[in-house]
């Protein structure tokens, strides 16, 4: 029995759970940030293919990141992080003595992290749970997609996302995010960002295979002395049941602007409703008792 089959029989496959009976394996992204060169080809390819509008010219001063974050008009975002830390055994050559304006350090420590972020396509997707119109749906590939012709712009999905990915487009009102190029997947093509990525930092494929590849890559990097290498979003036991788009990071998730311990925001809904029901029942009982108590 393959891992995929095992997961399916275990009920962990979102497409199966969504009611697809005969469906392709779950597809996803593994973004290996250790080989990202920050070329932003993913950002451009995504916008070109999906007709995502330009969203403003602003020189932010956040290193080479002038995109700032994911949003309605940015479905891939490359973060740039300049740090006074060493990357494995890399020799960066620069020298800042901690005086004259440079940050403390004294040594030649410097690394420049680059990472392309994207919608995580959660196993347990809160955006989908809260969508009242059915605009957000689970595809046969296990991905989560908004249907622009159904979305009514209610905006419930936006606070529901534990990663802050899905967003309302100004002047349009509807919610937009990465579709994992559903139109391309449907005809056997890989998503535009993955195809444009020159160094295979963005890898698209069968999620289970990607997870195996990622585990091997982490091992390889750690063996090479990159002790910080870790996976993010790969674990089916995390707060969102694992991500369909997961990452190899070289530092804590917060450094990249990612939540350290995301939890599906609808996880506690049943319990909340239970508590609410109990509270309502108590209140009703109290009111009833009051009235009953008045009876002569």
């Amino acid at each position: 029995m393959t891992l995929t089959e095992l997961l399916r029989t275990a009920g962990g496959d979102p497409a199966t759970n969504a009611g697809y009976r005969d469906h392709p394996p779950r597809m996803g992204f593994f973004t290996d940030t250790s080989v990202c060169i920050g070329c932003k080809a993913c950002e451009v390819a995504c916008k070109e293919w999906n007709h995502v509008p330009e969203d403003g010219l602003e020189l932010t001063g956040m290193s080479y990141d002038n995109t700032q974050g994911l949003g309605a008009d940015t479905w891939r975002h490359v973060a740039f992080i300049e740090q006074r830390k060493q990357l494995g055994s890399q020799e960066p050559g620069v020298f800042h003595d901690g005086r004259n304006g440079s940050t403390a350090g004294g040594s030649s420590q410097l690394r420049w992290l680059m990472a392309s972020d994207v919608c995580k396509h959660c196993t347990e997707a809160a955006c989908l749970d809260v969508c009242p119109t059915g605009s957000l749906f689970r595809t046969e590939f296990g991905t989560v997609v908004v249907q622009e012709d159904i979305c009514n712009g209610c905006g419930y999905c936006i606070p529901a996302c534990p990663y802050g990915v899905i967003d309302q487009r100004k002047g349009d009102g509807r919610a937009w995010k990465c579709t994992l190029c559903y139109d391309r997947l449907s005809v056997g093509m890989e998503p535009a960002c993955a195809q444009a990525c020159p160094t295979d930092s963005i890898q698209f494929g069968v999620l289970d295979e990607l997870r195996q590849r990622a585990a091997a890559r982490v091992g390889q990097l750690r063996d090479a002395g990159v002790a910080d290498a870790r996976l993010y979003g790969h674990d089916p036991d995390d707060g969102v049941g694992g991500d369909g788009a997961f990452f190899l990071l070289l530092d804590e998730p917060e450094v990249y602007g990612l939540p350290p311990d995301p939890v599906v925001t609808t996880r506690d809904l049943p319990a909340m409703w239970r508590h609410a029901a109990i509270a309502a029942a108590s209140l009703a009982a109290g009111v009833a008792a009051t009235f009953l108590g008045r009876r002569p």
């Binding site: 080989v35 060169i37 920050g38 070329c39 932003k40 080809a41 950002e43 451009v44 916008k47 070109e48 330009e54 969203d55 403003g56 010219l57 602003e58 020189l59 001063g61 290193s63 080479y64 002038n66 995109t67 300049e82 006074r84 055994s89 890399q90 020799e91 960066p92 050559g93 620069v94 020298f95 800042h96 005086r99 004259n100 304006g101 440079s102 940050t103 410097l110 690394r111 420049w112 992290l113 680059m114 020159p198 160094t199 295979d200």
Partner: protein
């Protein structure tokens, strides 16, 4: 590279970098400027290779490298020279390779004097005319003739002509073919003779010790030695190191010699012609290699045949006699030239009229792009075509470019958008400052919208000499047309207007073969018909398969001999699209590369003199004894059936004069040249000279700069004071210009696009926190950057990726300026090239944009007349006059 190896193209291809054990990227920001090719560097890294990036700035390339070495801009010869010295000191050279495949054993004549003897200059310097006479650089007892380079310069020597042509020297003509020699040189196989090349080169670089490298480059000795160890331990029989460079090496007053230094090092280490080795020249545009192969350069004809000079009564035979070596493939130059003349003038070109050789224009001196601008300012150049360029932003001293254009009668600009070079007359910086008034400018400006590459058929010749065909996806809209359409129809109309003329001056135009079929509603000429003409035909009109078929009797025609074979069998070989995973890693069936579809040049050197691979791990081509031919993964860059044991008979010429153990088949002696006896204008060996504008004295010699660099005494182009002279502290910082991934060169293709503009929306300068503190610059505030040429403003990016260096005991700060911006478009900013002065490499006339000096201060630059006034104030403070920086 042409003078060292015989051809001016990259010796390898990007995919081969995956086979490298060590990759040194220097003078290139490959991850940012060639991101797609960089995947092969990452592949090598994944296989365990060491990646080293040597660059003034810590860039996206450095971020992925194992070692980043920051060095002072403009000091790479010292750095590489230091590695060469290390190789000699520690005897790390590949002795067998060196003895068999290079000119290390050749004896130099006793009149040669080195920079070590003459305090920084070579023998033969003519101080009056700022040129070298290279006769003293020759091999012992023989005449070496540059088979490329300044060949026609030696016309006087060989054909008894006249005229001064030295200033038009042409390093580019080494594009395919080295230099010529007559006779047989003397050798010392033991390499002990004091005048053998090995000893000469060893002595020349002996002073480039780690301490000197540190003193010049600002690279600490331990870091420098780390690089030396990585490079030498990854070279030899079983391992190879590759060098990757781009315009960070070429844009200097000693640019050609930068590349020469790398060539010497790679020959010493035995890394040329072998998998994972070589020198990968990365070109800056999609078809820059193509634009020298079929040249847009004033001094070349297609296939690196030199453009003839205006010698009196020079016949075709005299031209060939003066230019062509007897030995090596250039021995067939007459066949290449006659076939070219037949392609251009067809039936009109006959044996009786020298195949219309007299129809070719003649050079009267140097007419490089910058000299053309000076000619515009002086009023002798009246008309100008700007196609696919934006000199008002992208060329050095951008203001001079505009002032030149303002003196023209007419100007034609073809581009996608209204670039700065098309609108300077109404909204350029000089209009804003009041220096020029639109109503006073006589220039008639014609703007033609251009078709994009997706709107036309054609080929790109990429950075690794590979032609790849692209097909029209969509007809161009509106009035947009391809360049091919423009020139074809322009020629057609001119010929119509001249028809019937009896003036002999019009014959070269009227006799041209100008009969390309046109296609579609816009009458687009067939690009494939042009490709077929470039490929050429045999006497029966069948497409040729190889340049070895070319004849010198007029029976064959060929528009560019090195491209002969691209249309073999009547099939567009450039359009082949067989992926590498359906063939071997060399992928000879993807596109087509010159020469003869070989992907690694000089690959005979991947086998030992007996024809066996140096090691199994580094096998590429080898002699197959059974089949009696060269076999292997790539197509052998050698006569396919010439055995290793072949020795040329007495009096052999052309390729027959190349022995079975000589891999550098374009060179007259078949050797890789450590020492270049002929073909370079500024010396047979590279020497560290300071850039034109530098804050430091040259610690090696009294000679501060390249003595034969090209400098211009112009008030618009003032230079900075010599270091340690009064006023030199006015411009204390080193500046280097560069590109970002998000934009393309002068921005014509990117600054108008929202998706790219939002990624890098504004011009900025990169400075270290230390420099920011020293000058009071604030992150994301404004800075004003000033040189003696102009003043610009930029947003400030303070980053620890910029590092101060210690040079000659002093701290030096460097400023980084991406050069994409100009005032037009969606994303705008000042042009960094306003600051750059015209000081040129004497071989190829390229500007020194990668290393100069400036001052930086907080705040925005003045508007209106205040802009020029500020520059004048700086000039006054620094005491700058017309002689400043002009010393030889």
């Amino acid at each position: 590279m042409g003078t060292s190896f015989g051809r001016g193209g990259a010796t390898t291809f990007q995919q081969d970098l995956q086979n490298s054990d060590c990759i040194v990227i220097e003078g290139s920001n490959m991850a940012e400027c060639h991101p797609v090719g960089f995947q092969w560097v990452m592949e090598a890294k994944a296989r365990g290779a060491t990646v080293i990036h040597v660059d003034p700035r810590y860039t996206r390339t450095s971020a992925l490298a194992d070692v980043h070495v920051p060095l002072r801009a403009g000091t790479d010869i010292a750095f590489l020279g230091g590695i060469i010295n290390y190789v000699f000191e520690h005897e790390k050279y590949f002795r067998e390779y060196l003895v068999s495949y290079t000119n290390a054993t050749t004896i130099i004549n006793d009149r040669y004097l080195d920079t070590e003897d003459l305090d920084g200059v070579f023998s033969g310097l003519d101080r009056e005319n700022r040129t070298y006479d290279f006769h003293t650089w020759q091999y012992e007892g023989m005449e070496v003739q540059a088979a490329s380079g300044q060949r026609d310069e030696q016309y006087q020597d060989r054909a008894g002509g006249g005229g001064t042509v030295r200033h038009a020297a042409r390093g580019e003509s080494h594009g395919s073919g080295g230099a010529a020699i007559s006779g047989d040189p003397e050798h010392d196989p033991e390499m002990l003779h004091t005048r053998c090349v090995f000893q000469v080169v060893k002595r020349h670089f002996a002073r480039y010790t780690p301490a000197v490298v540190e003193e010049i480059c600002g690279v600490p000795q331990d870091l420098f030695l780390k690089v030396c160890e990585a490079v030498t331990s990854n070279s030899g029989r079983d391992r190879t190191t590759a060098f990757v460079y781009a315009v960070g090496w070429t844009q200097h007053t000693v640019g050609v010699q930068y590349i020469r230094t790398a060539a010497i090092l790679q020959l010493l280490l035995g890394n040329i012609g072998r998998p994972g080795g070589g020198i990968m020249a990365l070109r800056g545009h999609a078809s820059i290699q193509g634009s020298t192969d079929i040249p847009t350069l004033f001094n070349l004809l297609p296939g690196y045949i030199p453009m003839p000079h205006a010698h009196e009564h020079e016949s075709l035979d005299a031209f060939i006699e003066a230019d062509a070596p007897d030995k090596g493939y250039w021995g067939n130059m007459r066949a290449y030239t006659v076939s070219l003349l037949k392609a251009w003038w067809g039936a009109s070109a006959t044996d009786e009229n020298d195949f219309c050789f007299d129809y070719l224009p003649r050079l009267t001196g140097s007419h490089s792009t910058y000299e053309t601008v000076l000619a515009q300012m002086d009023g002798s150049c009246k008309g100008y075509f700007i196609v696919g360029e934006n000199p008002a932003v992208g060329s050095a001293n951008a203001r001079m470019q505009r002032l030149g254009m303002a003196k023209l009668d007419w100007l034609v600009v073809r581009d996608f958008s209204l670039i700065e070079s098309a609108t300077w007359w109404k909204d350029g910086p000089e209009i804003e400052s009041g220096e020029l008034r639109t109503e006073d400018i006589p220039t008639e400006v014609f703007f033609f919208p251009a078709a994009a590459h997706t709107e036309k058929n054609g080929s790109f010749t990429n950075t690794q000499r590979m032609l790849q065909w692209h097909f029209m996806a969509h007809e161009p809209e509106g009035a947009a047309r391809s360049d091919l359409w423009f020139y074809y129809h322009l020629g057609r109309i001119i010929r119509q207007k001249l028809a019937g003329s009896a003036d002999p001056m019009d014959r070269p135009v009227l006799d041209l073969t100008w009969d390309y079929p046109t296609e579609g509603s816009i009458e687009e000429p067939s690009a494939e018909a042009v490709l077929a003409e470039i490929n050429g035909w045999d006497p029966e009109g069948r497409p040729l398969a190889s340049y070895q078929q070319l004849k010198d009797d007029g029976s064959t025609s060929c528009g560019c001999w090195i491209y002969c074979g691209v249309y073999a069998d009547g099939v567009n070989q450039a359009a082949r699209r067989k992926p590498w995973h359906e063939q071997n890693w060399v992928a000879n069936e993807w596109g087509w590369a010159w020469p003869a579809n070989r992907r690694i040049l000089y690959n005979r050197a991947s086998a030992d003199p007996d024809g066996k691979p140096w090691s199994e791990r580094k096998a590429l081509v080898w002699w197959d004894e059974e089949k009696a031919e060269w076999a292997g993964h790539d197509i052998a860059d050698f006569s396919s059936t010439k055995p290793p044991g072949y020795r040329p008979p007495e009096g052999a010429t052309a390729e027959d004069a190349i022995s079975g153990t000589d891999p550098f088949v374009m060179q007259p002696d078949g050797k890789g040249w450590l020492f270049v006896p002929s073909g370079l204008t500024d010396g047979p060996l590279p020497t560290h000279y300071e850039p034109q504008d530098s804050p430091f004295r040259n610690p090696l010699y009294r000679q501060q700069r390249n003595p034969v660099r090209q400098v211009f005494k112009r008030k618009e182009n003032r230079y900075h004071p010599d270091p340690e002279s009064p006023g030199s502290d006015v411009f204390p910082y080193v500046v280097t210009t560069y590109r970002l991934t998000e934009h393309h060169t002068a921005g014509g293709m990117t600054r108008w696009l929202p998706y790219l503009s939002e990624l890098q929306p504004e011009f900025f300068c990169e400075v270290s926190p230390e420099l920011a503190a020293e000058r009071g610059l604030e992150h994301m505030g404004w800075a004003t950057v000033v040189t003696a040429r102009n003043v610009i403003e930029a947003r400030v990016m303070v980053t620890e990726r910029m590092t101060p260096l210690t040079v000659q005991g002093r701290t030096v700060h460097q400023i980084g300026l991406p050069y994409h911006w100009g005032p037009n478009g969606y994303s705008t900013g000042d042009a960094a090239n306003e600051l750059v002065g015209l000081s040129l490499d004497p071989n190829v006339h390229i500007q020194e944009a990668k290393a100069f000096t400036a001052d930086i201060r907080p705040g925005r630059r003045p508007r209106g007349p205040g802009r020029g006034a500020l520059v004048e104030e700086y000039q006054r403070r620094a005491g700058i006059g017309e002689e400043t920086g002009m010393a030889i």
